[in-house]
Structure formats: structure tokens, C-alpha cells
């Protein structure tokens, strides 16, 4: 059967994460196994509108497959306009995911804006396999308080012994936390050099990577999840080329030394 034929998945729950972002929980209708790694993505179909890449937001350690979807175009609008019970198409998982086997025990996870969606998979994975990791810190920044995702989970991360720093660009009276850049959060952490996982706008990635390298991280230990236009997900259509690499197969997670020239 063609690689392009998706599996069917029913929407079992829709949560609002921010005014334009939704957390969608899915159940695969074929009841077959769906195994994946943090950092991988799926191609999601709304039949009639088309297909687009969405990173997996849930951790494979938990039962429900979840996708965090921000309104950004025709297809993502189509997905979030669905209701519970509607059927979507899913292909994947695709991409390499975070190289957990190669990553050091001490990990810092830094996300900016909607890029944090894919990192949540890694955070919850660590929470559920806490013993396998050492010092773990999460630094996450969004534009405003309303734009922060997964607010109800921060506490559970802290309870698992993870340093959690949250910051916003624009504060208001309802926001008591940090205002400023993600890099400022990193300064607050007591960090021992290890691995890093970053996702966000290119400017933020570069700033965080530079800061971490200043703190003794090796650039090959800094892993960046890259966003690219994708259509096939399987290294054929060429939309997602980053130099000689395909973000869909060789990525979306790259070590910083491989991609810093294009960031």
C-alpha cells in the first residue's frame, strides 16, 4: 500500500491552549500500535483541504496521542475547526526525534513560542522516566501570558524535580512571573554542561545556543528542532531541504553544529 495513504484517527478531545492554539487528542481507528519518540512529527490530513506536518506533543510514555495545533493556514484552521468525533488522517511518525540514546543525562530544554509544543513531549517523557536523567531544566518563553501553553502541567514538572522557568515578552497585571528573554532564564539555572533541546524562532535558537556554549555546552550536544515547509514527510518532495539534509528524515532534530549556518 502506498506510503501516502494515511491511517484514520478520531478526535477524542479538544483543549484550548491559547486563543489560537488547541491541544487535540486522537485515537487511531485501526487500533494498531503507534510508537514514536519525542521530537517526531506526523502528517495530518483534513480530507478536502490537504495535509500538513504537525509535531507530536504527547509523550510516548502516555496513552493518548496529542497534537498541539496553532491556526496558521488553510489546513491548520481546518483541523482546529473539527469537533470531537471527527476523523482525520495521520501518517507517520516521521523524522528522527530527539536522540535520547546519545543525549547526556543533564538536559536543558528551551522553547520559544509555539516551538515549545514539540518539547513538551520530551519534558513529559523525562518526567515519566525521571530516574534515567540527571539535572533537568525547562526554560520557556511566549509573547504574553495568554500565549503560554500547558500551564496546568508546570507544577507536575517541578514536582518531578525539574527546574521550570517561564517568561513572557510582554507582561501585564495578571502576570507575576518573569518578563524578558529565555536566555535570561538560563542564567538563573544552576547548570552543569550536558545536552540541550531547543525549538523556537531562529533568533531565539541562536541566542540560547550561544549562551549554552558560553556555559560549556558542546555545539554537538545542542539539539535543535527545525521547522520547515513539508509535503511528503518521507524525503522525496524536497520542500524541507536544509542544505544536503531533509528536515523530514534527517531531522527535524539536528545538532546545532549542522544547522547553525542556516539559522
Amino acid at each position: 500500500m502506498s506510503e501516502y495513504i494515511p491511517r484514520l484517527a478520531e478526535i477524542v478531545d479538544i483543549d484550548i491552549e491559547s486563543p489560537n492554539t488547541y491541544l487535540i487528542s486522537l485515537k487511531l481507528l485501526d487500533n494498531e500500535n503507534f510508537s514514536y519518540k519525542p521530537g517526531q512529527f506526523v502528517m495530518v490530513s483534513v480530507f478536502g483541504l490537504g495535509e500538513c506536518p504537525i509535531s507530536i506533543t504527547s509523550s510516548p510514555t502516555r496513552k493518548t496521542l496529542q497534537l498541539c495545533i496553532r491556526r496558521a493556514g488553510k489546513i491548520t484552521n481546518g483541523i482546529v475547526d473539527c469537533r470531537v468525533g471527527d476523523v482525520l488522517g495521520i501518517r507517520g511518525p516521521y523524522g528522527n526525534g530527539f536522540p535520547l540514546e546519545r543525549m547526556k543525562k543533564n538536559i536543558i530544554i528551551a522553547g520559544g513560542g509555539s516551538g515549545f509544543a514539540t518539547l513538551r513531549s520530551l519534558v513529559n517523557y523525562i518526567v515519566d522516566r525521571r530516574g534515567a536523567f540527571g539535572d533537568v531544566a525547562v526554560a520557556y518563553g511566549a509573547r504574553t501570558r495568554q500565549d503560554l501553553y500547558f500551564m496546568q502541567e508546570y507544577k507536575s514538572w517541578q514536582q518531578a524535580g525539574i527546574d521550570v522557568g517561564i517568561t513572557v515578552d510582554i507582561g501585564d497585571e495578571s502576570w507575576k512571573g518573569d518578563v524578558g528573554l529565555v536566555t535570561a532564564l538560563i542564567d538563573k539555572f544552576r547548570l552543569s554542561a550536558g545536552s540541550a533541546a531547543i525549538c523556537g524562532p531562529p533568533v531565539m535558537i541562536n541566542a540560547v545556543a550561544k549562551k549554552l556554549m558560553d556555559k560549556g555546552f558542546d555545539h554537538s550536544d545542542i539539539y535543535v528542532s527545525m521547522e520547515r515547509h513539508m509535503k511528503c514527510g518521507v524525503g522525496k518532495c524536497e520542500h524541507c531541504m536544509i542544505g544536503p539534509y531533509h528536515a523530514c528524515q534527517d531531522g527535524p532534530v539536528f545538532s546545532y553544529d549542522k544547522v547553525k549556518s542556516v539559522l
Binding site: M1, S2, E3, Y4, I5, L8, L29, S45, F47, G48, L49, G50, E51, C52, A72, G73, T76, G85, D86, V87, G89, P201, P202, E227, R228, H229, K231, C232, V234, G235, K236, C237, E238, H239, M241, I242, G243, P244, V262
Partner: protein, 328 residues
């Protein structure tokens, strides 16, 4: 190996066309094209502008149909059809070898290989290079360097036929009445013909792989980008280019289409949020060249250019595609 007398070619194709669709270069209003052949005069002088790549990767094709029923979906795929392509040239065959490696990499592209497997390829070696051809400068051609079901070389009064696959051997075995024994002189004749073709090519165009690579290194991409007319022609005629997009047609039932795309459009790499990693036309042109001469070789071990010269024939901006010099 066998000898096919000139006058037996059409009867042989006629016989084969009973079993499968025969595609061959024919004239449509005088324009040479690869199309279904049903006895029209063959147009074997020039390689058509559009390579036979489209029989494996059409400009538009249905990947599958989706059929909605009570909120859920079922899918239908079309079956590949048996086909014989007569007259594919060594450059276009080489391009298929590159595509085979790309579309065959894991996970394999079923839709491409369905067509690939159900197609018999009969190649025609080039006795006379076209005015833009330079395959020899890239280290192959004008004879087939790839495995092909059958390859023909035009020699005096007919064709030298060499088989390269079970399907090819089968055609020779099943239809012995068409073929004559070959002799050493036929082979010599072939070598001489192809040697002449090589010479003709080398004397008319001074192009070399190191020269092209040097030009890519030195090119002023911004200046070139400013004159590019965004027509995409160089990518649409290239037998190696294979960028595609996927698109749905129809609700609630409809078709998921694979449509030919071009990396020279800004929307090709632009992301949903609006950010674009290849923002200028110069960036996109540079990427096209780097892909052909660096990235594809890294991925497949083969050059992403086959020296067919089609891109220089169709450039709307009248660029010199190989020196990459900016005129004024």
C-alpha cells in the same frame, strides 16, 4: 545482442502494442513529443523537450481517492498500466537512475515504483548530439551507462539491439522472427558511431564539470536572481527535478493529487507562519544548482545533472545556465 533491420522496427512495435501501451517520440503538429504510439511516423531525430520522466512522475497524478462514508473514510488506489517506452535517450535514462535512488530510499515511493515496474524501457543511443547536449562532459553518454531492458544503436540499415534485463531478453526470445544475428562489424560500427557523436558534442560546446562547479562557486546569485522571471521552466523540463506538492481535490469525496512543484517559487519553502528560509530568488537558484552538483551526489552517488541541456533551451530570462555570467 541482435540486429534489427530498419524496416522491421515498426512491425515489432505494432506487435508489442497489442500487449501494452507503446510510448514513442511522435510529432504533434510537427512538435516531437513522447506520447502513445499507434502507428504514427516515429520522430527519432531529436530528443523531445519533455523527458519521459512524466510516465513515472506525471505533472499531476492521483495518489489515491478518498471516499467519505458516515464521517469515516476509505481509500482507492489506481493500478499501474503496462507500458513500453521506446526511444528514451541515455541522459533521460540516467536521470531515471537518479530518481530510482531517491524514490527508492526508505520508505519507498510505491506510486513511482508501480509505474517503474510495469514499464519496459527501450533506449536509443545518440548518434547525433543535440545542440545543447553535454552528457559526455559529465562522464557518461551518449550511450547507455545504466541497466535498461533493451538498448538500440542505429547503424547501417538497422539497429544493433542489446538486452540488459530479463524483460529485454524476453522480447528478443519471443519474437525471433524480427531479429538477425549480429557480427563483430556491427559492434565496431556502434563504437565508431558513438565515438563520432562524442566528438561532435565536444567540438560544439565547451563545458566541463569542474568549469560548472567553478561557475557555481563564483556566481553572483543576487544579480542572477534579479533577472530570473520565475517561470520554473528549467525545473519543469529537467529529467532529474522531481519536487512535488500534494493537494486535495473535492469534498466530501475526492482525490489526493501529487502535482509537480518547483523549488524556484518562493511559496515552495515558505512556512505556514510566513517565514521563508530561502527568501530571495538568488537563494533559490543557488539551491537548485547546489542540489544538482552537491546534494544529490551526496545522497545518491550520482550527479543531479545529466547534461541534456534542456534548461538552457527554455530559460525565459535568457541566462547562460552554465557560465552563470550576468549579462550587463
Amino acid at each position: 545482442m541482435a540486429f534489427l533491420p530498419q524496416e522491421r522496427l515498426v512491425p515489432l512495435l505494432t506487435l508489442l502494442s497489442d500487449r501494452m501501451e507503446v510510448v514513442a517520440p511522435i510529432l504533434v503538429e510537427g512538435v516531437p513529443v513522447f506520447a502513445s504510439w499507434s502507428g504514427q511516423p516515429l520522430a527519432l531525430k531529436d530528443n523531445p523537450l519533455m523527458p519521459p520522466q512524466e510516465f513515472f512522475l506525471p505533472q499531476r497524478e492521483v495518489l489515491f481517492r478518498y471516499i467519505q462514508d458516515c464521517g469515516s473514510y476509505s481509500f482507492e488506489e489506481a493500478a499501474g498500466k503496462a507500458r513500453l517506452i521506446f526511444g528514451i535517450r541515455p541522459c533521460d535514462l540516467r536521470a531515471l537512475a537518479v530518481l530510482d535512488r531517491i524514490f527508492g530510499s526508505d520508505p519507498m515511493d510505491q506510486s513511482y515504483f508501480d509505474k517503474r515496474r510495469s514499464t519496459v524501457l527501450v533506449a536509443l543511443n545518440c548518434n547525433e548530439p543535440g545542440e545543447n547536449c553535454f552528457c559526455d562532459h559529465l562522464g557518461f553518454g551518449p550511450t547507455c551507462s545504466e541497466a535498461v531492458d533493451l538498448q538500440l544503436t542505429e547503424i547501417d540499415k538497422g539497429y544493433l539491439v542489446e538486452s540488459g534485463s530479463p524483460a529485454g531478453i524476453l522480447i528478443l526470445k519471443e519474437h525471433p522472427e524480427f531479429f538477425l544475428e549480429t557480427s563483430q562489424s556491427h559492434l565496431l560500427e556502434k563504437c565508431e558511431m558513438l565515438g563520432q557523436a562524442r566528438e561532435a558534442m565536444n567540438s560544439c560546446i565547451a563545458r566541463s564539470l569542474p568549469g560548472i562547479k567553478e561557475a557555481i562557486k563564483k556566481a553572483d546569485w543576487n544579480a542572477l536572481g534579479r533577472t530570473c522571471l520565475n517561470c520554473g521552466s528549467c525545473t519543469f523540463v529537467c529529467p532529474v527535478c522531481h519536487c512535488f506538492t500534494i493537494q486535495d481535490l473535492g469534498v466530501p469525496d475526492g482525490e489526493r493529487m501529487r502535482c509537480r512543484d518547483t523549488c524556484l517559487l518562493s511559496g515552495f519553502s515558505r512556512m505556514a507562519g510566513g517565514a521563508n528560509p530561502r527568501i530571495s530568488q538568488g537563494d533559490r537558484m543557488q539551491n537548485w544548482y547546489l542540489d544538482k552538483f552537491e546534494y544529490i551526489p551526496q545522497r545518491t552517488g550520482l550527479l543531479g545533472c545529466v547534461g541534456c541541456g534542456r534548461c538552457s533551451r527554455v530559460c525565459l530570462a535568457e541566462m547562460d545556465r552554465w557560465s552563470l555570467e550576468v549579462k550587463r
